[in-house]
């Protein structure tokens, strides 16, 4: 049986690529005329690779789930070894709040800085911020698509996808040309959960896609962690419910690293701003939580120009993030 033929056949017929599909007459006819070599050549001409499940490089964790894909189509620079490296899935709401965006980015940054591969689904909201955070730290990140390997979905993340591909891998069980469809997203989520040693949920509504990913991770016996949120926010219902069920509380990247048994990097490459510098004053002004540039300027006794310069310095050092003019450490 050719795994590639099955993947292409299933995609063409819009069915799940399960081994039983190979028992049909249509499949036999299809497989008889399918030329693996030619297909792989064509893929590589378009900049894609195929990693069959039977390939020794296929990530063992993903191969161990109860319904693994016949293989993965790959796009990007990284070696297939990154798929087997210690990895964490960071997932959550597409319409996340600024809080979720900030937390996802910060966690991913911390994890990537400790050498962990950050896996997510390239979706809007938490997924996108998780990839972004890993990229911030110069780390490796893997994006799992719910559509053909040649598609950028959502379109707004085309540039992000290119950055992910440059620093890691974009992967999909679907060959080029497969359009995104709602029923493919749960299938995509099983790959996200399957690739990762642990899954962290950052903001999720009840009955949301991120909870499906968490369920899939639990079924495979992987660790599930959740970030606590405000009890009054609908975006916290899903995560707080997970915590009630026994998910590990995440208050920072260290909590995730502890679950993985990885020691946090002792000396971060940026030692923080020099004491007495405007950047140090600006950072101190953020000790009590998020603040606007004007508030920071007032508390740090800096003029608006010096504040702006100091905050950019902190952003570049990865110590502070900004969104909509609000800064957080």
């Amino acid at each position: 049986m050719s795994e590639l033929a099955l993947a292409v056949f299933a995609a063409a017929r819009d069915v799940h690529a399960a081994p039983r599909e190979t028992r049909s007459r249509q499949y036999e006819q299809f497989a008889a005329s399918f030329d693996d070599r030619a297909y792989v050549d064509e893929l590589s001409q378009r900049g894609f690779r195929w990693l069959a499940r039977s390939d020794p490089a296929f990530p063992p964790l993903l191969g161990a789930i109860h319904d693994p894909p016949p293989g993965l189509f790959l796009r990007g620079a990284a070696d297939t070894r990154v798929l087997a490296a210690p990895s964490v899935a960071v997932v959550g709401a597409r319409s996340c709040a600024d809080y979720g965006a900030h937390v996802a980015r910060g966690l991913a940054r911390g994890l990537a800085a400790a050498g962990v591969v950050v896996v997510s689904g390239l979706a809007r909201g938490v997924d996108g911020w998780a990839h972004r955070g890993a990229l911030d730290a110069g780390g490796t990140t893997v994006a799992v698509l719910g559509c053909g390997i040649d598609r950028d979905y959502p379109r707004a993340h085309a540039r992000l996808a290119a950055e992910v591909a440059a620093a890691g891998l974009v992967v999909s069980e679907y060959p080029p040309g497969v359009a995104p469809a709602p029923w493919r997203f749960p299938a995509r989520n099983r790959i996200v959960a399957g690739l990762a040693r642990a899954t962290v949920v950052v903001e999720a509504r009840e009955r949301s896609g991120a909870l499906i990913t968490a369920d899939l991770a639990l079924e495979e016996g992987r660790d599930v962690l959740a970030v606590p949120g405000e009890i009054t926010s609908a975006l916290s219902r899903g995560t707080n419910a997970l915590l009630r069920l026994g998910a590990t509380v995440v208050t920072g990247p260290e909590d995730v690293l502890e679950v993985l048994g990885i020691a946090p990097r002792p000396n971060e490459d940026n030692g923080g701003p020099a004491p007495g510098s405007p950047a140090a004053a600006a950072l101190a002004a953020l000790a009590d939580g998020a603040a606007t540039a004007d508030e920071i300027a007032r508390n740090a006794r800096l003029d608006p120009a010096a504040t702006a310069a100091a905050l950019v310095e902190l952003e570049l050092a990865g110590v502070v993030t900004s969104q909509g003019g609000v800064y957080r450490r």
Partner: protein, 484 residues
């Protein structure tokens, strides 16, 4: 019997000399205007006939032909009324023929013979000066405008007054002193409380003539700040002022009493304005908002609400500072070098950037909004400032610095801007690192470099130092416009 007067027809912002020739022949009484006259110009027949009667002068009982030369130039509008009337009166010897020498005339006649000002009199007067006319007969209101062009006005209120002048029955009115500058009330920055970062960005925008985008929730002073930009810009020099005054004259928007427009203009078209209204054009090409904002500020308040064709049409003036309007028999080019200011909310429901409100926009809606925005000239804004809603109490603070003080710094920075400051090695390294770490495009690199140079000029620094680059990076497009 034949008589000639001269006037000057508008072609965009230029004028061309037009000879108005009245020919009286024996035959059945008739009145024809030939020489490519448009409808408003054809209607001159009624106004001239009625005006002459009202001035208690005689309508000649001849076959009258008025020829407007050159014939290939389309004659538009009602400014030909007065020269036509004068030519007819001279041909019928009711005005001494020789008296018209050295004069040009422009103005519209009311049916009762009163004279009305017409748009573009300044431009016509400049044409008259170049054409060698010493004096220009015009409506009383247009006197100051004519004086600006360096031509002696003969301001008259009624056709009868013009006739009396040419008959030598009425002394030419005394030549007034050149009018003072037009006083334009610009609101002061002192009214804006808090919003220190936005005020700083406004100052940088003024110093470097950078386009500025203000993004934030409703009611925090975005529009208020934008309206105060002209007040901190350097006042226009003679040449710029004349250019701007000319455009406003052609648009018929020059305030009464004349004088030069020294304050950089401010225009804020509503998002429902048509492309022609914003860009210019129409059957009689008139400057649009983009040209009326020439050497001043064009505010697109609620930028994402503007329809795409309008935003697309603004690309040309943003690129080269002109708009070209197609018209019958060619193109007219209007200057349109304006500073663009946009305002917007950070999401369609407006709640983003407001710690007290929860955004209710669906991801799809947000995506569409961002996509619209990225087409909405986002790449044209050197400075993008996210203004979060200030906490309660902040707006009760002390009054801000007044516009005059800020303008002084802006003027000083502009004087230094020619120095073409170079970046230090460290500043260069920072910029390179930022392009790698932050979502910045290649264009973004150039934008940051430009803004950093302006910041260094404001600081009177000898080089562009790292702190200047760092500050410039703070006003880049907020990351959430680029990701997630």
């Amino acid at each position: 019997m034949l008589a000639r007067t001269f006037t000057h027809a508008l072609v965009g912002l230029e004028s061309r000399r037009v000879e108005v020739e009245a020919h009286l022949q024996n035959g059945l009484p008739a009145f024809a205007i030939v020489g490519l006259a448009d409808r408003a110009c054809q209607e001159a027949k009624e106004r001239v006939r009625s005006g002459i009667a009202s001035a208690e002068l005689q309508w000649p009982g001849h076959r009258i032909t008025v020829n407007l030369a050159p014939a290939d130039l389309r004659k538009e509008g009602s400014g030909f009324d007065l020269p036509i009337a004068l030519a007819v009166l001279a041909a019928s010897r009711q005005v001494p023929l020789g008296a018209l020498a050295g004069h040009a005339a422009v103005g519209e006649l009311a049916l009762d013979g009163r004279l009305r000002p017409v748009p573009g009199t300044l431009v016509a007067a400049e044409g008259a000066r170049r054409g060698g006319a010493r004096r220009l007969v015009c409506a009383a209101e247009s006197g100051p405008e004519v004086l600006l062009a360096g031509v002696e006005p003969v301001p008259v209120r009624h056709l009868a007054e013009a006739v009396a002048y040419f008959r030598g029955e009425r002394d030419p009115p005394p030549v007034e002193a050149p009018p003072g500058d037009v006083a334009v009330a610009v609101p002061d920055l002192a009214d804006v409380r808090g919003q220190e970062r936005a005020r700083r960005a406004l100052e940088i925008a003024a110093a470097g003539a950078h386009n500025l985008l203000l993004a934030g929730p409703p009611g925090i002073g975005k529009t208020m700040l934008a309206r105060r930009l002209p007040g901190i810009l350097p006042r226009l020099d003679d040449e710029e002022a004349l250019e701007v005054t000319r455009i406003h004259s052609v648009a018929g928007l020059l305030p009464q009493g004349g004088g030069l427009l020294r304050t950089p203009p401010f225009r804020a078209p509503h998002h429902t304005a048509s492309t022609a209204a914003v860009i210019g054009g129409g059957p009689h090409p008139r400057p649009g908002e983009a040209s009326l904002a020439h050497r001043g500020v064009l505010l697109l308040d609620e930028l994402p609400e503007f329809p795409r064709p309008v935003l697309e049409a603004l690309r040309q003036p943003l690129e080269d500072g002109t708009v070209a309007v197609a018209r019958v028999g060619g193109r007219v080019v209007f200057p349109a070098r304006f500073q663009l200011v946009g305002t917007m909310n950070m999401c369609p429901c407006g709640a983003r950037g407001d710690p007290a409100a929860q955004c209710t926009c669906s991801p799809q809606r947000l995506d569409r909004y961002r996509e619209r925005l990225s087409r909405a000239l986002l790449d044209r804004f050197d400075l993008v400032v996210a203004l979060p809603r200030p906490r309660a109490g902040e707006l009760g603070g002390a009054a801000g610095e007044a516009s005059a003080a800020v303008r002084e710094r802006v003027v000083a920075a502009r004087a230094r801007a020619g120095d073409d400051l170079a970046r230090t090695t460290d500043a260069d390294a920072l910029l390179t690192r930022a392009v790698e770490r932050l979502p910045l495009s290649g264009r973004g690199h150039a934008r940051v470099a430009r803004v950093a140079r302006t910041i260094a000029a404001l600081a009177a620094a000898p080089h562009v130092a790292p702190e200047h680059v760092a500050e410039a990076l703070a006003y880049r497009s907020p990351t959430e416009l680029a990701v997630a």
